[in-house]
């Protein structure tokens, strides 16, 4: 028995398992990296900068950024409390609510758009009431925000829920038994400890909003967001004209990732 085992150990050493996993994973890494680099390298910098200056692209960038900030804010305002409730609740209701929150993540975005149209579309009750009040829920920045919020807010809820769950409940009990109320406990104990995770969720939601296309195009073709602008450039002027705008969007995505990584560094670890 022993010699066999010893041979196996040696074989494992020679065939370093970690290297094998890395080599397999590297195939996927190349698949991510090569097209990105080829896109960026393939676009002359002056062309990209030039397109950034074009009114259509500038306006699309402004729409995307404004709407994404708004959706991330809405997602945070309503998503963080929901995440806290989910993290602290028990039982079947919690399971059901979690499933409901995840639903927009698994729904194809274009279907999400169609689902939303049945509620906020121009012919619906809500759509008509809003229109009477002078607010258009589709073909407006409101429509963009509605679409983005639907698709992106689950990221806040799911990530913040995990962050709250990682805060030991006995810390909250300890705080309260020291005479501090629920609000003080949340503000001074739970929130600071969960904050890096919550911030990661907000950043992810923001990134998802910036890239949102399927639901947005169903609700608001105008005003154009960056992804819609890329699609328009592609269908009207051809692929060649869509590439520089895509590079700009890649830049925004990478910047988001950088911020995410900076925030993800938990000083307590």
């Amino acid at each position: 028995m022993l010699p066999t085992r010893s041979r196996t150990d040696t074989a494992v050493e020679r065939f370093d398992w970690l290297s094998v996993t890395f080599l397999l994973g590297a195939v996927l890494l190349c698949y991510y990296l090569v097209p990105l680099l080829s896109l960026i390298v393939g676009q002359p910098l002056d062309v990209v900068v030039g397109r950034m200056g074009s009114p259509a692209v500038a306006s699309a960038a402004a729409t995307s950024l404004t709407a994404s900030l708004a959706s991330a804010t809405i997602a945070t305002t309503f998503g963080v409390p929901l995440a806290y409730w989910l993290a602290r609740a028990d039982g079947r209701v919690k399971t059901l609510v979690t499933a409901l929150v995840v639903l927009p993540l698994v729904l194809p975005p274009i279907v999400s758009g169609m689902v939303l149209l049945t509620v906020v579309g121009p012919e619906t009750l809500l759509g008509r009431v809003a229109a009477a009040g002078g607010v258009s829920l589709t073909r407006s920045i409101v429509g963009v925000v509605l679409a983005q919020t639907f698709v992106a807010s689950p990221f806040v809820v799911v990530t913040a829920k995990a962050a709250f769950e990682s805060v030991d409940r006995s810390l909250e009990y300890a705080s309260r038994s020291l005479g501090k109320g629920r609000l003080t406990t949340f503000r001074r104990v739970t929130l600071p400890l969960a904050w890096p995770g919550i911030l990661a969720g907000i950043t992810l939601a923001f990134a998802r909003s910036i890239g949102e296309f399927g639901a947005t195009i169903m609700l608001a073709y105008y005003p154009r967001t960056m992804p819609v602008q890329i699609w328009v450039s592609f269908t009207t002027l051809g692929l060649k004209n869509a590439f520089p705008v895509a590079v700009i969007l890649v830049g925004v995505a990478v910047a988001t990732l950088v911020v995410l990584n900076a925030l993800g560094t938990n000083p307590l670890e």
Partner: protein, 353 residues
């Protein structure tokens, strides 16, 4: 004064209570195995869980229905539950009703030199000291401790236990100390409450509970490894005679003749007889004060601070566990299969109905 009356809480597959108990300005050690309801007991008092029935009152005020923050029942958790994003000082300051007390408490618990460090860099003992300082800073009307020493190494545990003993004595509030360690419970408690399956088995001063367990469970849990089914055969004056198979023991406990009882003998109260070992001329059989039994050493175990020797008693198919101090063990040069005599004082034979 903390008073619990008919306190009950049911879970799936576990029921706590009903428990009736009064705790004055004293230290009550709650001792029980894991899963016996010790933490539930504290959680009910602290307000972390609500009772299904019963009342809790502290200094005459009912606590049921009040939130955690209104109860003034300071709780110290097993691992301290210090806020990891605050320094030790900030942790204590968070709770302090009077900021000037921070340094005073830091001195009392000897944590002054670690006040500016964050909890993850503190040792287990330092964490518990800071946690206790934090809890006391809130000026609680009752102090609840959930096994705060259980995760510490033995030497630190012993030292901190000693300090806690002195500190608790200076507090004029009810202190409830939950533990599964009999030594800690005995060392710290003015009274011990033995808890089992959510109910109190016995409450009393450590001396009473250890020497006169009222049930087999309490006897076993407080270290009485020697439990025998026995029958009371005679009674005269201040002692009774019990029979375990062919073995007769004298006990200074009281029980009616003819009754079936459990005879409990704590290993620490049995003595290996040196005379018997040396020349085999030891006395046999019970006297009024002492039972001397012949037997053979079956096996022994070095437990560090004492040896645990298992002696097969000749007159019965049972063995007797004897705690032998190291110096005695070495002096007697105990070996396996050596013939020995053991002496069991009559007042060490406790009878449980």
């Amino acid at each position: 004064m903390l008073e619990l009356s008919n306190l009950t809480r049911r879970y799936d597959g576990f029921a706590f209570g009903p428990v009736d108990l009064s705790v004055g300005d004293e230290v009550l050690s709650v001792l029980g195995p894991s899963g016996s309801g010790k933490t539930t007991f504290l959680s009910l008092i602290a307000g972390i869980v609500d009772p299904d029935a019963g009342t809790i009152s502290l200094d005459g005020q009912s606590l049921v229905g009040r939130s955690l923050e209104e109860r003034k029942t300071g709780i110290v958790f097993q691992h301290g539950a210090l806020f990891p994003h605050m320094t030790a000082r900030e942790n204590v300051a968070y709770a302090a009703t009077d900021r000037s007390r921070i340094d005073e408490l830091a001195d009392l618990l000897e944590v002054r030199d670690v006040l500016d460090r964050r909890p993850p860099t503190l040792s287990g003992g330092e964490k518990q000291r800071v946690a206790l300082a934090r809890t006391l800073a809130a000026d609680p009307d009752a102090l609840l401790l959930d096994e705060p020493l259980s995760s510490l190494d033995a030497p630190i545990r012993r030292r901190l236990r000693d300090e806690l003993h002195r500190m608790f004595a200076s507090l004029d509030i009810p202190v409830i100390y939950v533990t599964h360690d009999q030594r800690t419970a005995t060392a710290l408690g003015d009274r011990i409450a033995i808890i089992r399956d959510g109910g109190l088995e016995q409450v009393g001063p450590p001396e009473d509970v250890l020497k006169r367990p009222e049930s087999r469970f309490v006897a076993r849990f407080t270290g009485n490894e020697n439990l025998f089914d026995a029958t009371v055969t005679a009674r005269d004056g201040e002692s009774v005679t019990v029979r375990i198979e062919d073995l007769t023991l004298r006990s200074s406990a009281d029980a009616p003749v003819g009754s079936s009882v459990t005879a409990c003998v704590h290993p620490s109260r049995v003595r290996l007889d040196a005379e018997a070992l040396r020349d085999g001329s030891g006395r046999d059989g019970p006297t009024r004060e002492e039972n001397v039994l012949a037997g053979t050493v079956d096996r022994w175990l070095n437990e560090g601070d004492e040896y645990r020797v298992s002696v097969d008693v000749d007159a019965a198919s049972t063995s007797l566990s004897v705690a032998v101090p190291p110096h005695t063990f070495e002096r007697l040069s105990v070996e396996q299969s050596s013939s020995v005599r053991v002496a069991v004082p009559a007042d060490a034979v406790h009878l449980v109905p």
